[in-house]
């Protein structure tokens, strides 16, 4: 529904940007003036005029300082041009000779309009002008400072590769290529942004990924029409299925190994320039709770961790709600000894359990948010000191009961144990809804809330794949890698719910699994 709304807006005529439709003239000085005028003579614009072939031809190169690799320009353009001799006199021939022989930059193309020139310069390319020609050479000389490849801070693992994506798209595609050395690996290029053009790459393994799904991803990407996409979150929000859902329908990661593993399962990876976060589609509920580390440890440990994670998911959604329901409606359900001690600790607390829980969870969220904003050492201190001090003080002040502090602390820890920040946040949103339901209807409210969450999940799709798969629609084969993680040798097929073109993972084993 949202998409159709945007599509309507798209139909509005794209306003013509007159400034950019100017042609390139034959006069060098005029051409250079045009560029200067268009960009309003920025101080980082470098226009180097020079002559070649014993001062018989006037030329110039234009680039923006800092975006380019100046050593590269010197070695592959300037030096070659200066040393070239016996060049033809005819302008056209000369231009061709320079294009094909003299310049040794690997990526080189012709530019016809001022718009080409401007976009090229702004994305770190170098433009070569020859006096008397209405064409230019655009050479890829991208360079400049980049962050080095580091371990991603948001997804650190005990075991696994230590490299992470960085802000440079080319480096990121290389990282993927190193993981998947397959001739069927496909990178499809797109440009997004009206004002600021950014490169976007759709990566998938042809022959594995379902072609219908790849087409759907491309179709959605082509509808993107925004000024600028500073981060892949813009892309995610534009192409996701339902903006009303609390659940993330697109996964993101900073880890090349996770992205590569997803691609080998038949998923599609979307990479945007200038952000280390790549998107993985489609996402399912099960895959949101997976971590790449699950596959690196032995299966028994990995399975245990996964079960623990599902338990953490349960706690992070239901625990405060259960506390509220049990304490305010169903005291009879709690064993009598415990019920007495809870009643004793709640003695003197002036608020009903719902308000009590709301105060504590709100405090917890505040601490979390504050800890994020502060530098790491201070942030940790805030987390620990804040949690301990406020919890302790709140109990002694009689605002909350000690059991409540335990409940909220356990709940927060459980939500941090989840591998994806996105799903942890969505659980926290649900938790507030369930707390409210529990405050009104007790256990009955919680179960109705649970049913409603389930209704929502089964109706949700991510790029045509049901969000609830492989639970429902049920794919028994995929249960091998869901809550459990069977030994690697027993996982013979790619996930069924992905409907890949090449389901088999190994040649060994029985052929009976083929007959489905």
């Amino acid at each position: 529904m949202a998409r159709s709304f945007y599509r309507k807006n798209n139909k509005q005529k794209k306003s013509e940007e007159e400034n950019f439709s100017l042609e390139i003239g034959t006069n060098l000085v005029e051409n250079l003036n045009k560029i200067n005028k268009m960009l309003e003579e920025p101080n980082d614009l470098v226009i180097r005029k020079f002559t070649i072939d014993s001062a018989s031809h006037r030329t110039a190169i234009v680039y923006i300082d800092g975006l380019v690799d100046s050593n590269y320009i010197h070695d592959h353009i300037m030096k070659n041009l200066k040393q070239a001799t016996e060049l033809p006199d005819d302008k056209h021939q000369l231009f061709d000779v320079i294009h094909w022989e003299v310049i040794t930059v690997t990526d080189i193309e012709l530019g016809q309009s001022l718009e080409d020139v401007c976009n090229a310069i702004l994305s770190g390319k170098t433009v070569f002008y020859l006096d008397g020609m209405d064409q230019v050479l655009i050479m890829d000389t991208k360079g400049g400072e980049n962050r080095s490849i580091e371990e991603p801070a948001s997804e650190s693992l005990i075991r696994g590769p230590r490299d992470g994506f960085i802000e440079n798209l080319r480096t990121n595609t290389v990282l993927i290529r190193r993981h998947i050395a397959d001739p069927n690996l496909r990178f499809k290029n797109y440009e997004v942004g009206r004002r600021s053009k950014k490169d976007l790459v759709v990566a998938y393994v042809a022959g594995i990924a379902n072609p219908d799904m790849v087409e759907e991803v491309k179709r959605r990407l082509e509808t993107i029409d925004i000024d600028d996409a500073p981060e892949s979150g813009y892309i995610e929000q534009w192409i996701e299925d339902s903006f009303l859902s609390p659940f993330p329908q697109v996964l993101n990661t900073e880890r090349p190994d996770k992205a590569a593993e997803a691609m080998l399962q038949g998923k599609v990876v979307i990479m945007l320039d200038r952000t280390p976060f790549v998107l993985i589609v489609p996402a399912t509920f099960g895959s949101s709770l997976h971590s790449p580390e699950d596959y690196y440890w032995r299966w028994s440990l990995a399975t245990l961790i996964r079960i623990l994670r599902y338990l953490a998911a349960f706690i992070s959604v239901f625990l405060p709600a259960l506390y509220i329901a049990l304490v305010s409606y169903h005291q009879g359900l709690i064993p009598s000894d415990l019920a007495f001690s809870i009643a004793a600790t709640r003695d003197g607390v002036p608020f009903p359990p719902f308000i009590e829980a709301l105060i504590m969870t709100a405090t917890m969220e505040l601490l979390r948010e504050a800890g994020l904003r502060l530098p790491t050492p201070i942030g940790q201190t805030i987390g620990i000191v804040g949690g301990l001090v406020i919890g302790d003080a709140a109990v002694s002040a009689g605002i909350v009961s000690p059991i409540m502090v335990i409940v909220v602390a356990l709940n927060a820890i459980a939500s941090f144990a989840l591998p994806s920040y996105g799903i942890a946040i969505s659980f926290r949103i649900l938790q507030f809804g369930l707390m409210f339901a529990a405050a009104v209807f007790g256990l009955y409210g919680i179960i109705l809330g649970y049913i409603m969450i389930n209704i929502h999940i089964v109706n949700l799709t991510s790029f045509g794949v049901p969000y609830s798969s492989p639970f429902a629609p049920n794919f028994l084969n995929d249960w091998k890698d869901l809550v459990l993680r069977v030994p690697i040798t027993m996982k013979k097929k790619r996930p069924d719910y992905m409907q890949t073109n090449d389901q088999k993972l190994m040649d060994k084993g029985d052929s009976s699994s083929e007959k489905v």
Partner: protein, 368 residues
Amino acid sequence: MKRFKYADERISEKDILVAIPSSVIGVGILSLPREVASVTKFADGWVPLLIGGCIVIFMTWAIAKFASGFRHQTFLTYASKIVTKPVAIVLTILFAASSIVITAYQVRKISNIAQQYLFDQTPIEIVALTFLLVVVYAVSGSRAGLFRINIMFLPIILLIAFSVIIFNLGWFEIKKLMPVFQTPPTDYVKALNTSTISYLGFSILWFHLALVGQPKKAPKMAALGMCIPVGLYIIIFLVCIAVFGNAVTSNLLYPTIELAKVVEIPGGFFERFESIFFVIWIMAIFNTTTMAMDISVIALNSIFKNTMKLKIIFMLAPVVYLIGMLPQDIVTVDLLGAIMGNTIVILNIFVLLLLTVIAKIRGVKRNE
């Protein structure tokens, strides 16, 4: 052959296998042991339960066999071909009406039980309303989604049912089951009626089979699915008798929930297991109710083709609520349930016979 096509909203035969027990298991089983035990002696109730089960399994198979012959056609379409359009519309309306009453019955019943086991002060009107709203939310979603919900909930429901049975093993007294076959034959017939009514839920086959992509194996799957509630009911009945004895069982209002009351969780984690049991059982009742309501929505939608599905649902919901709130006390509610059960059994048998015979006589071709 692929079971699941990318972005496909059809359902598979295996979904039918799950949907049948999901729409059968509901409030019925909670009071069934009492109803059966009160007309039979000792543990003899399993005989009518088994015979009734066999009849129902056969009927399920027959309906599925008949309906799957008309691939991807709605009930109204193929019924119109066989017995002219006006008659088909009347039959569809009968199905819709009976499903509406069943929905209302379930909604009312769950509110009564919730009042008894969860809260004593909240008025049943509020409990019923919230439950109905959640049902409406489910029905207004995609139809494939309903079947997915069934798949998600059924394992949990069976798990809690079997945990009740297993935790009760300690209270078993085999001598309460003896002696066997003491009931006079006329009482078996009475009990047979009760047991057949409790297996209702196969009406979905008339309407939902049109959604199945490859309905060839559907009859087998539907019959297999029906075996699950039959087996479960017999086991629960026997456990009730073995734990409480016939006399106590026939006097308990909801013997199955009382069975959960006996349970003591080792480790003393919870007390009053019956509340937990009933809370989980709400999922089972929810599945039954949504499937019943969806039947009426499909039926009405096939008659009023140009009306939006949501409009139908929003018009149905108040009707369901009013019908559910109409009976004054629990006796009237149970009476309503019994009448509806008999009506639906007769309706199903009647429609099956009518359509089969006339289709034979007029030679209506299948799979067109």
